[in-house]
């Protein structure tokens, strides 16, 4: 079946719609909301590269977010680097960590892989707690004067917003490329049957490692942006296990291994959270309601919204990728 051009345009439009919204209204609160949405989208879309395409369940996605955040924060606040360079280094540091541990841990399958990623995250957090250059348990804070170099705090908030917006767009392009390339085909074959893929000549070890590295690069950038605008970073803020799990939920919700799924899942999940948090009736049990919804999805539509649509209405496959 021929792929419609909409399969590419649709995901792009989703990100553009969210990203351009505050630019149109020029309201600070809208910018903050869109920032939260784009952050969720970027985390979900990057996790999708490893989780969705290869089927390896990583609970350690947030370790790259925290590490990228720490490296960039350190370079800006302590070493006085310009932000863009520090952010890039944050991404590179995260990708490097993924590359180095990837070769080892990607040999593990199923539950063992999931467990080891939890271990990596906790080990890193415990290590940062004791690592004095990064401030140990109290973390690092940014002097306000740093912001002045960028034209004051308001300018920083907009600048970081543009960066995040750009990263989200880049992620759509990268995901689309993977989905339609030979590389992506190789990854999908790993998801379906790794041993068969190996026999068929897919160099699974190398493919997995590169997918893992690529998927780690982006949360590194996002972490750099988030903590830079936060003006402080602490170990327990940088490596919260629940953010990893939320990212998985977002990918699942939208549809793993698709281009548009994680975007829809990220936006949908954040929207639901805000709805639950602001609903006076459900506010107190918002977590329980979210849990019940998750269970229903896992039990009844494990392919996520996009996966379900593709299966139920085969016609949608032309433009839902």
């Amino acid at each position: 079946m021929k792929r419609s051009v909409w399969s590419f345009l649709l995901p792009l439009l989703v990100v553009l719609a969210v990203g351009l919204f505050p630019l149109v209204t020029q309201k600070d609160l809208h910018r903050e909301t869109a920032f939260t949405l784009l952050r969720a989208v970027a985390l979900a879309a990057s996790l999708n590269i490893i989780l969705g395409f290869t089927g390896y369940v990583s609970f350690g996605h947030v370790v790259f977010y925290g590490l990228g955040g720490y490296v960039a924060f350190y370079l800006v606040a302590v070493k006085g680097w310009p932000f863009w360079a520090a952010m890039l280094m944050g991404g590179v540091a995260a990708a490097l960590l993924a590359y180095l541990i990837g070769a080892g841990i990607l040999r593990l399958r199923g539950a063992y892989f999931a467990l080891v990623t939890i271990g990596v995250n906790e080990a890193m957090k415990a290590f940062i707690y004791n690592f004095q250059p990064f401030g140990g348990p109290t973390g690092l804070t940014m002097n306000f004067a740093v912001y002045k170099a960028y034209g004051g705090p308001k300018a920083v908030l907009w600048m970081t917003y543009y960066w995040l917006f750009a990263i989200a767009i880049l992620l759509v392009l990268v995901t689309y490329w993977i989905r339609t390339s030979k590389f992506g085909l190789g990854l999908l074959s790993i998801r379906e049957d790794e041993d068969a893929a190996e026999v068929m000549g897919v160099r699974t070890a190398r493919f997995k490692t590169w997918a893992f590295t690529l998927s780690a690069f982006f949360p590194g950038l996002v972490g750099a942006i988030f903590f830079f605008r936060n003006a402080s970073i602490e170990p327990h803020d940088a490596f919260p296990l629940h953010v990893s799990i939320e990212s998985i939920v977002m990918v699942m919700l939208g549809g793993q291994g698709t281009v548009i799924g994680p975007l829809v899942g990220g936006i949908g999940y954040q929207w639901m959270r805000v709805f639950l948090l602001t609903n006076p009736l459900l506010k107190n049990i918002q977590l329980a309601v979210a849990g019940a919804l998750l269970l229903l999805i896992v039990l009844f539509i494990p392919a996520g919204l996009v996966g379900w649509l593709r299966r139920r209405f085969p016609a949608t496959r032309r433009f839902l990728l």
Partner: protein, 437 residues
């Protein structure tokens, strides 16, 4: 069919965008509302209602202390409004209303909430959340919008050394939290040499013990153990073993209520042979008495205690102004309103309001710039103690007037009671030393 489907999708998307934009419009004019200063200029003998914005930890681990702080602040607001507001020289009457949200004791949404308080609720002045961590996050936002924020329940020095110009601290900063305890120990036992610091790995406690350690070493003490514990520690066994091994004669540290009271209990259970225990935050809380014998003899620094007496006469002696209600008046009003004894968090919340009120009166205006200038010039004694802010570039807004008092749990007729034991001039009882075990 296929075409229809995607056309519908695109349409829905475009519609969503439109609706989103439209929804935004009605609120837009609100942002252009004249700032408080201008409305005041055109006002003649009229009433202005200022919005005080803050977050409260209604849920999560900080809910007890944060709740008391908010109660104190609300009591002040209620009293000012009921007394007819603040009257300025041009006849304007200033009253207050609150805008607040639940920050869930978590940094996740504090910045978003303070942005909302400023941009949506048009808060004129801000009060900090409880705890140094949350305040550090909210201070960024206050500074971004150049809103005056009075902080209470936020003692870390580092917040005030980030170059912020609009943040003012009511509490004695962390760096001076335990220094008085060192002086007290020195007087109680000149032979005491070895001290151990065991503290919570959080901004506040770390700042406290770093400063106290430097001061102790300066005073000739030997710091035999200096170790942090994670915030969620419940088993202090390893730390107590280390304290015993190090031969420390006095233990200083702790962090917040929960860990501090657990630490005290386990020190008692494991019969640690130390002569003095000084813990942060937990001992001054009335609930600490539930530890029973494990509480007996424990010492703690406090920002304020019901027994402390600051009076207009004392102000005269110091050569500074007195402002606000007396200690008895505050305690009476608080007990009447909430049916509980105020803790120092309650008093801190109330004091934050009193200082804002004082600054508005001094400025004779609600213009934020003038109020800020009045805060910078503040040098006043209140029921809470002496309040004066650092105005230097490096540590703007840091509290330099207020001093800590130290309490100890003692026994009166077999009942545990809290007594002020330091400084000497404010003491209500002699220090019990060494720790009776």
């Amino acid at each position: 069919m296929k075409r229809l489907f995607w056309m519908a999708l695109v349409l829905a998307l475009a519609l969503g965008l439109l609706v989103g934009c439209k929804k935004a419009e009605p609120t837009a004019p609100a942002a252009e509302e004249a700032p408080a200063g201008e409305t005041q200029a055109q006002a003649e003998a009229q009433e202005i209602v200022l919005t005080i914005g803050f977050t409260e930890s209604k849920t999560g681990k900080l809910n007890v202390s944060s709740g008391r702080q908010a109660k104190g602040l609300r009591l002040w607001m209620k009293q000012v409004n009921e007394a007819g507001g603040i009257k300025l020289s041009d006849g304007t009457v200033v009253k207050f209303k609150e805008a607040s949200y639940d920050d869930e004791s978590s940094k996740d949404r504090v910045q978003e909430l303070y942005t909302k308080l400023i941009t949506e609720d048009n808060a004129d002045f801000l009060i900090s959340p409880y705890s140094s961590g949350l305040t550090a996050a909210s201070a960024v936002i206050a500074e971004q919008y150049e809103k005056v924020m009075i902080t209470t329940g936020a003692a870390s020095d580092s917040i005030y050394k980030q170059g912020y110009m609009h943040v003012f601290q009511i509490y004695t900063p962390a760096s001076r939290y335990l220094t008085g305890a060192i002086d007290m120990l020195k007087e109680a036992d000149p032979n005491l040499k070895k001290v151990a610091f065991v503290y919570e790995q959080a901004k506040f406690a770390t700042a406290v013990v770093k400063a106290a350690k430097a001061y102790a070493e300066e005073q000739g003490y030997e710091v035999v153990l200096f170790e942090g514990y994670p915030a969620d520690t419940t088993d202090f066994g390893p730390f107590i073993n280390k304290i015993v091994e190090s031969g420390a004669e006095a233990v200083l540290g702790g962090g917040h209520f929960q860990d501090g009271s657990t630490f005290a209990r386990q020190l008692y259970e494991k019969k640690a042979p130390v002569k003095a225990v000084v813990l942060l935050v937990a001992p001054p809380e009335p609930d600490f008495a539930e530890l029973g014998d494990a509480a007996y003899g424990i010492i703690g620094p406090s920002q304020w205690e019901p027994q402390v007496k600051f009076t207009p006469e004392a102000a005269k002696e110091l050569g500074i102004e007195w402002y606000g209600p007396s200690n008895e008046e505050f305690i009476k009003a608080y007990e009447a309103a909430y049916n509980e004894e105020p803790s120092y968090h309650s008093a801190g919340g109330y004091a934050a309001g009193v200082i804002l009120e004082y600054a508005i009166k001094k400025a004779d205006s609600v213009d934020p710039k003038k109020v800020k200038a009045a805060l910078e010039a503040t040098d006043v004694l209140t029921f809470f103690g002496h309040i004066k802010f650092d105005t230097s570039e490096e540590a703007h807004g840091l509290q330099i007037g207020h001093e800590m008092v130290y309490i100890q749990w003692q026994k009166k007729d077999g009942q545990l009671v809290k007594e002020v034991v330091w400084p000497k001039e404010g003491a209500t009882a002699e220090l019990i030393y060494p720790l009776p075990r």
